[in-house]
Amino acid sequence: MATENDIVAELAASAQRVVADGPGPTGARSRRSQLPGYDPSYLGLLTDLGWLGILVPEEDGGIGLGLPEMAAVVRELEKGLMGEPLLPYAVLGARVLVHGDGPARAALLAQVPAGECLAALALDFNGALPAVTAVPADGGWRLSGQAGSVVGGVSATHLLVPAQAADGVRLFAVPASSPGVTRTHLWRADDTPLGQVALAEVVVGNGEVVATPAAAETAVARALDETRIVAAAGLLGLSEHMLAMTLDYMGVRKQYDQLIGSFQALQHKAVDLYIDKERAAAALQFGLATGGDPATLPLAAVRAKGRCSDTACRVARDSIQLHGAIGFTDEHDLGLYVKRVLTLSAWLGNAGEQRRRFIDMGWALA
């Protein structure tokens, strides 16, 4: 019987093959500032591989694996700039559904593995719940308000909208085509879209409730922390890739008739990136080792996302520096990776934001 580690290793190897066979940076370049921000045929491939269902429990029609398996996939896929749209739909959206307690949960979750339900969580910036209100109407609800930060929002089939009702926050699954829904977008650092959603008196039934006030805020918080850990894995993969690019370059680029990789000042800079990358891998492992236990999940997410964001940003900056002028060009692929790092590190809280959470949890003076 395959052990957990075998499955992680197999999935990582599959993801490496997907990256090797995929369009890589060239594909990412061709998709810049294009909707929906990923190749629709890639969604088909992810469906065929079963990866949209990795985090959906078996009893809900998924594969029922855990964060380590999804993290292994995303860590490799990001090396080919191919982490989208797995992150918004198969991680964040899917996990919000998993933690729901409402009538809409089961049917939508069952459609996630086949790519029939692409559910995007509607948030405001910095992880805030959106300014959306829910008012009872005709045996259902009328939703109004805006959500400013909806990754995956432009191509979602469903928007998972936390809305403030008189008795607390309810989480609704709003079909994206519902009357009164307006979707626009901003461009993220990596030229993929960030959805923005306006809801004007959108009518939804009680059957569209994914989570009741008893579960809604917890469901969102847990899904966010789980996604932070998977995003951290993506940031680690990006760090690994940028460091490899940089070391390759240091081994071929000559100045003063010497390989620049032989210069001690540059060697020490590269070593510091390697050390940071190793430490980020350890922080990710800590994050994954909690096994999704709700009690330890927040600290796990804080440490993994904070460290991996910090490390990836440093590796990105110093990789540009170590490449010199060529690293500052649009033509060189390094910039695509740097922009992906800027996108992923900012999403769901950068290193400073995670450090603030760490302090709020009382760990600074522990």
């Binding site: 070391l247 240091m250 081994g251 390989l259 990789g261 032989s262 001690q264 060697q267 020490h268 590269a270 070593v271 510091d272 390697y274 050390i275 190793e278 430490r279 980020a280 350890a282 922080a283 492992q285 800590f286 440490r303 904070g306 460290r307 450090r355 603030r356 760490f358 302090i359 760990w363 600074a364 003076l365 522990a366």
Partner: protein, 387 residues
């Protein structure tokens, strides 16, 4: 002799703790501080009498034969109790080197004398002109009949003021490449021509000394591992204990003091300070995670490689940064020698003080290979960067 490896890890940890609490006097609980033999010999003899002195030696030679997992636990318990290092070169280096490269006569002669505390060893490696570039050493040993006659100047010799024996790396062939002409020789310090001159460190300790060797004699039978083979012998000497240099124990102890100082100085509510403490806590936590990963490998019986350089760099640099922030938080009191008075009462750290911590933290970034040397090693051996 007891088979310590037969105990569960937890039972062994408790046994180690009980032994330490019962026998280690409080005046030796000074962490990184160096302690002279006169203060530490009772503890040394107690360890020897109860079989706790030589964790890595085989049982037939009076050691504990601890497997790596248990050995790490023993070191952890030392760190937890804050026990200062005592005369350790004999146990740590001479015993293992002789067991690996020595003759049966050398083993039979020297090992019991280490356990009894009769022979106290120091390490004669570094020289004024050979620090990080150790192979450039210039101390010479020429053979006259059945005697080595040794001339040279060793420095940074820890414990030399208390030692009566020194193991020396000396050049025995000047015609070959520098690593190939070095021999490893055991020398009795109790003879004319040996002069020990203490070096007072920046934090006031007399831990180190210079050792001058002028026509000092050692029988050729004191050669270890063959003529001109000393470089290889010396390389084998830094084994398991290298792992401990990358452990987060120094940083953890410094962090405890940092938090206490922050509270005493009333800076524990200053968001700018708390943010910086948080970063160091996160660094320490992630360093610990890295260390724990290596410790698991070791426990599983796997070998380890250059990750010890990575750990050494992060452990020592994080430790140093913690002491830097501590001194900064202490404000004007950080400029005082001795105990620092705060409004809520003095900071009682035993004999230690903030300045001393700050200065002491410089040393681990230098000894055992500077952090820059370890970066060179990683650049070449792990990253494969060109020479």
């Amino acid at each position: 002799m007891r088979d310590w490896n037969a105990l569960s890890d937890e039972a062994f940890r408790l046994a180690a703790r009980d032994f330490i609490e019962a026998h280690c006097p409080t005046h030796l609980r000074r962490g990184e501080e160096h302690v002279r033999w006169a203060q530490s010999k009772d503890w040394y003899h107690a360890m020897a009498a109860h079989g706790w002195l030589a964790p890595g030696w085989p049982m037939e030679h009076g050691g504990m034969a601890l497997k790596p997992a248990k050995h790490l636990i023993y070191l952890e318990e030392w760190a937890r109790a804050g026990i200062s290092r005592v005369m350790e070169q004999g146990v740590l280096n001479v015993g293992p080197v002789l067991l690996a490269h020595g003759t049966p006569d050398q083993i039979a002669h020297y090992l019991p004398r280490i356990l009894s505390g009769e022979d106290l060893w120091c390490q004669g490696f570094s020289e004024p002109g050979a620090g990080s570039d150790l192979a450039g050493l210039r101390t010479e040993a020429r053979i006259e009949g059945d005697t080595f006659v040794i001339n040279g100047h060793k420095i940074w010799t820890s414990g030399a003021v208390d030692a009566n024996h020194i193991f020396v790396l000396a050049r025995t062939d000047k015609t070959v490449k520098k690593q190939a002409g070095i021999s490893f020789i055991l020398v009795d310090m109790n003879q004319p021509g040996v002069t020990v001159k203490p070096i007072v460190t920046v934090n006031g300790d007399a831990e180190f000394a210079e050792v001058f060797l002028d026509d000092v004699c050692a029988p050729v039978g004191n050669l270890v591992g063959g003529l001109n083979n000393g470089w290889r012998v010396a390389q084998s000497l830094l084994g398991f204990e290298r792992v401990w240099a990358g452990s987060p124990h120094m940083g953890r102890q410094a962090m405890d003091r940092l938090v206490r100082v922050a509270r005493l100085a009333g800076r524990d509510r200053d968001p700018a300070i708390v943010d910086r403490i948080a970063q160091l806590q996160l660094d320490l936590a992630d360093n610990s995670e890295m260390y724990e990963r290596l410790a698991q490998e070791i426990r599983a019986g796997h070998s380890f490689g250059f990750e010890v350089s990575t750990l050494k760099i992060v452990a020592t640099e994080t430790y140093a940064r913690i002491t830097e922030l501590t001194l900064e938080i202490a404000g004007e009191q950080g400029g005082l020698a001795g105990e620092a008075p705060f409004a809520d009462g003095p900071l009682l750290l035993g004999k230690a003080d903030l300045l001393r911590d700050y200065l002491t933290a410089r040393a681990p970034m230098i000894y055992g290979g500077t952090v820059q040397i370890h970066r060179n090693i990683l650049a070449k051996r792990v990253l494969g960067l060109p020479a």
